[in-house]
């Protein structure tokens, strides 16, 4: 690893690491398994840290309404802008009132496991392991789900030549935690999420508990041998996928998903998000070399009948918070070196629309969780407020914290990768004290 991405080559998004060099760095592992040929060549970080967290990256797809997820109840404009979907103040007498966080922001009951305010994400918040960042998002003002998601996952807006994701480049620019691991990262999805594109030895696995080619156990080795031979000369990206897949089938066969008992009596909701986090927890505890997982949760595109008190937004937030709460109790509270972070492509209009919903907006919230996260607070940078005259385009919460500032600090301080110029090309992050 002679190359180093340094300040001198900041003009370039990538340096190149030759495949041969990469091989030398990790002797004994086939080149294709390590580094698919079609991927851009990325320089390895020289000064990486050998101890680092596993990252669980969550994408809240659809544009999550940050003003419902973490409500600025002390801003009177919240109540005037949302005549039918506002959540009552913590000091009100309403049974549906929110749970006070810091005198300005509150959680809705969906995020705290009910009216008592002691469940859901509250234990993590109280233990200072959960950080909420508000008025965050992207500086680019696209309100297209698909552009905004792509920009956020890629880690740079409006660059058609950049096809890899920020987490993919992180993994590509740091040696594996466990060099013999057949699988470094997974996307719990049927198709690999953009965030992870570019990561070596990484696959989409919709259901890790059932990852098999089926058929007779006796002939399975022969059939796998046929597949390895048949795909040996396959074109990329199918070639690498097939090779990684055959290795991962064997790996996951050795992991006991069904008999898994979560720690601390944690109960994962039987939702697709809850099951995904449970599978990720099993893989982390199995210690098979997984370094990253990308998990998605949909249901945030609340154009109509949003109802964060009892309706669709309530149920989505409840699934989100109860699933992460189980993961917290099971994995993070027990001391595993894991950081969890959650993003959404944009927030929603401050003012509700005519269908008791909210249309695409700008600023929203992010969540970061872990023993290495400086949590227990709502982080804002010059909270812009909700008064009409300060709204972006006259309708939206401003973005005052670029999401990359949060992610970059985590990549550097928790994931041990100082190579931020590769992970977030052309972005010069401001460290806001997200990590301890």
């Amino acid at each position: 690893m002679d190359d180093q991405h340094d300040a001198d080559c900041g003009c370039e998004e990538y340096n190149e690491l030759s495949r041969r060099q990469f091989l030398t760095a990790s002797a004994g592992i086939s080149a294709a398994a390590l580094f698919p040929a079609w991927l851009p060549k990325i320089v390895m970080s020289k000064n990486y840290s050998s101890t680092r967290d596993i990252i669980v990256s969550i994408f809240q797809r659809g544009g999550a309404d940050g003003l419902s997820l973490c409500v600025p109840f002390a801003d009177p404009n919240y109540y005037t802008s949302r005549s039918t979907i506002a959540i009552p103040r913590p000091d009100s007498s309403a049974t549906t009132k929110g749970i006070n966080l810091d005198g300005f922001f509150m959680f809705p009951q969906a995020m705290t496991g009910g009216a008592a305010g002691t469940g859901g994400l509250m234990p993590a918040f109280a233990a200072k392991d959960l950080l909420i960042v508000h008025a965050t998002g992207q500086l680019n003002n696209s309100r297209s789900h698909f552009d905004a998601q792509r920009y956020m996952e890629v880690g740079k807006p409006v660059d058609p030549s950049l096809v890899t994701g920020w987490l993919g480049r992180h993994l590509a620019s740091i040696p594996p935690l466990n060099p013999s691991a057949p699988l470094r990262a997974l996307g719990v999805a049927s198709g690999l999420q953009k965030t992870l594109v570019g990561a070596p030895k990484t696959l989409p696995i919709a259901d890790p508990t059932n990852y098999t080619i089926g058929g007779s156990a006796t002939t399975q080795p022969q059939r796998v041998a046929f597949l390895q031979g048949d795909y040996a000369a396959a074109d990329e990206p199918l070639h690498s996928a097939a090779l990684d897949a055959t290795n991962t089938v064997s790996l996951l066969k050795s992991v006991n998903f069904t008999g898994y008992v979560p720690a601390n009596g944690a109960v994962y909701p039987n939702s697709s998000f809850g099951r995904a986090l449970r599978s990720v927890a099993v893989l982390i505890k199995a210690n098979v070399g997984i370094e990253a997982a990308q998990v998605d949760i949909g249901g945030w595109d609340t154009h109509s009948a949003e109802d964060p008190i009892a309706g669709s937004m309530f149920r989505t937030m409840q699934d989100f918070s109860n699933s992460i709460a189980a993961f917290y109790a099971d994995v993070i509270a027990t001391g595993s070196a894991v950081t969890l972070v959650s993003v959404s492509e944009f927030g929603r209009n401050v003012r509700e629309n005519g269908s008791q919903g909210t249309d695409h907006g700008r600023g929203t919230v992010m969540f970061a969780m872990g023993k290495g996260i400086a949590g227990g607070r709502v982080l804002t940078k010059n909270w812009p407020g909700l008064a009409h005259e300060v709204l972006a385009d006259g309708q939206d919460l401003q973005v005052t914290v670029d999401y990359r500032d949060i992610l970059a600090e985590i990549v550097q301080n928790r994931l041990g990768n100082p190579n931020l110029g590769v992970v977030f090309p052309t972005w010069n992050p401001t460290m806001l004290g997200v990590t301890r």
């Binding site: 594109v197 080619i213 046929f226 199918l238 385009d393």
Partner: protein
């Protein structure tokens, strides 16, 4: 009720009258202005192949062993993949692109009709007798013919199963293969999530998508804009004059017509959402314009000024929106956007600028005639030079059905297989539709292999039955030859032939061994591409 049908796809009648085949729309008997422009576009197309060939990639992936200090340009994962060396018949390449799976019968048909003849045969789909398949669909999936009024009371599970299985059945066994390729394409273009719209989707699929899949794009777009299902899916039915909902106004420009870079602004979205207030649903699924919730103020959308109206205009208020639909379908960005997307679907993941402008000009010259665009895209110079595309799981599954030709009593196992494969049709929840990108699908390979195992072992009189008699009738070599004919159109790559022969001979020549070999054929690299 049980209907056991041996699919007839594999046994076509090849006596298609020549005059039917030659009776192409835009053909010589109608030298209209449209066809004049159309032929002009084709002439332009013939100038392109050199450029296309110059950009055709080499067969193998690029492995650059460069000095480490060189900075290589980023290689996109959509890097074009040239075809297998064995795929040397241009007509077979046309069959792969025009169908949901190459079969011996389709290759024979293409060889008989020639390039233009076969293309015309597939494009003039209403002339292809599909009574056998439609008869089965009518009997097995009766809900698909019902009105929304009746479907309102039907079980949601029945609707989902019949819609999904009916779509699979047609895709796999209809003789109108190119038509169903385009039904799939437009179903993603105008994607809706069954979980959100429910029974309304049946009418949308029937009266919008299947009715116009090979018609004119403006008709298709306008049918979609008058679809109760679309109004529900993109919250248009919840939009009101006082606080318009922008969802549909945004997506009709971003996803359905102009494209995200098509030259509209957030202000255009807001203004179009005001224009469209009042477009909604009445009763159990009737599209209506409701003047009482229309915003009658003046608007400016895409530079077009719509003067203020008044409630006294009543139903005439819908004309504002109709006018904007005309603006959208006639916009040059729409021509380019639809041309690019169709090129990606039918030809190559990376169409050249020349290809895009050529097909966009066909759109403009023919008023968005989808057949004319396809005829210009699938020409015999571009397609033989085009890279392979990865089958999406739905396509993969349909092609496995076309190759195994099972006896179908119920397709319900296929319904759940689509979910395992990551392609549960009608359940993509965002309006962009399932991706058509290799980097999205390539990693999900294990479920394809598991599907191969499941498919080859189907031996049920109540669902699907794959009969292996013919494979076991001769030698193991003959079985692999038959697999070549049925699964690879006689162009099975050497590595796969060698591997299958080795596998089938490594054990006793039993039914189980034959089924495993068929599973491996379905799982093979070459079966994933088209």
């Amino acid at each position: 009720m049980r209907i056991t049908t041996r699919a007839k796809t594999q046994h076509p009648t090849l006596d298609t009258p020549a005059e039917q085949v030659n009776d192409a729309e835009g053909g010589t008997e109608r030298p209209s202005r449209r066809s004049f422009f159309f032929f002009g576009a084709l002439a332009a197309a013939t100038l392109v192949p050199k450029a296309a060939r110059a950009q055709a990639p080499s067969r193998k992936r690029r492995i650059v062993e460069k000095d480490p200090i060189d900075v290589a340009p980023e290689v996109a994962p959509t890097e074009s993949v040239a075809a297998f060396a064995e795929w040397d018949s241009p007509l077979s390449r046309l069959v792969r692109r025009a169908t949901l799976g190459i079969t011996k019968a389709e290759v024979a048909r293409a060889n008989q009709l020639g390039w233009q003849g076969y293309l015309n045969y597939q494009l003039n789909y209403t002339r292809i007798n599909d009574d056998a398949v439609e008869g089965v669909v009518a009997q097995k999936y009766p809900l698909l013919a019902q009105t929304s009024d009746l479907l309102f009371s039907a079980s949601a599970t029945d609707i989902r199963n019949q819609l999904t299985e009916g779509t699979i059945y047609r895709a796999a066994f209809s003789q109108r293969q190119l038509y169903h390729r385009m039904v799939e394409f437009w179903s993603d273009h105008f994607n809706q999530d069954l979980d959100k719209v429910g029974y309304l989707l049946v009418a949308d699929q029937r009266d919008v998508i299947r009715k116009n899949a090979l018609g004119r794009f403006p008709d298709l777009l306008k049918a979609s804009a008058h679809s109760a299902s679309m109004m529900a899916y993109l919250d248009q039915s919840a939009s009101r004059n006082k606080a318009p909902n922008q969802n549909y106004a945004r997506e009709i420009m971003e996803l359905h017509t102009l494209g995200v870079d098509g030259g509209y602004t957030q202000n255009d979205v807001a203004e179009l959402s005001r224009v469209l207030t009042g477009w909604t649903i009445q009763g159990r699924g009737t599209f209506v314009f409701n003047p009482a919730i229309h915003d009658w103020g003046s608007k400016v959308v895409l530079g077009v000024t719509i003067p203020a109206g008044s409630p006294s205009l009543g139903q005439d208020g819908i004309k504002e929106g109709e006018q904007m639909l005309d603006v959208l379908v006639n916009h040059p960005s729409t021509a380019r956007f639809i041309a690019t997307k169709m090129l990606r679907w039918l030809l190559t993941p990376d169409p050249t600028e020349t290809q895009i402008s050529t097909i966009a000009s066909v759109y403009r010259a023919t008023g968005g005639d989808i057949k004319a665009m396809i005829r210009a895209i699938l020409n015999d110079t571009w397609l033989p030079a085009a890279p392979m595309k990865l089958k999406r799981p739905f396509h993969f599954l349909a092609s496995a059905l076309r190759s195994t030709v099972p006896t179908v009593t119920s397709l319900s196992p296929m319904n759940s297989q689509l979910t395992s494969l990551g392609h549960p049709i009608f359940s993509w929840d965002t309006p962009d539709g399932f991706p058509d990108k290799i980097e999205y699908w390539a990693g999900n390979i294990v479920p394809r292999w598991a599907f191969g195992t499941t498919m080859s072992n189907l031996n049920s009189a109540t669902t699907l039955l794959v009969d292996t008699t013919t494979y076991r009738a001769g030698s193991p070599d003959a079985a692999v030859d038959l697999i070549d004919q049925n699964f690879f159109g006689g162009e099975m790559p050497l590595v796969t032939r060698t591997g299958l022969l080795s596998y089938i001979k490594a054990g006793t020549f039993t039914d189980a061994r034959v089924r495993e070999t068929i599973a491996l054929a379905i799982s093979a690299n070459a079966f994933q591409w088209y």
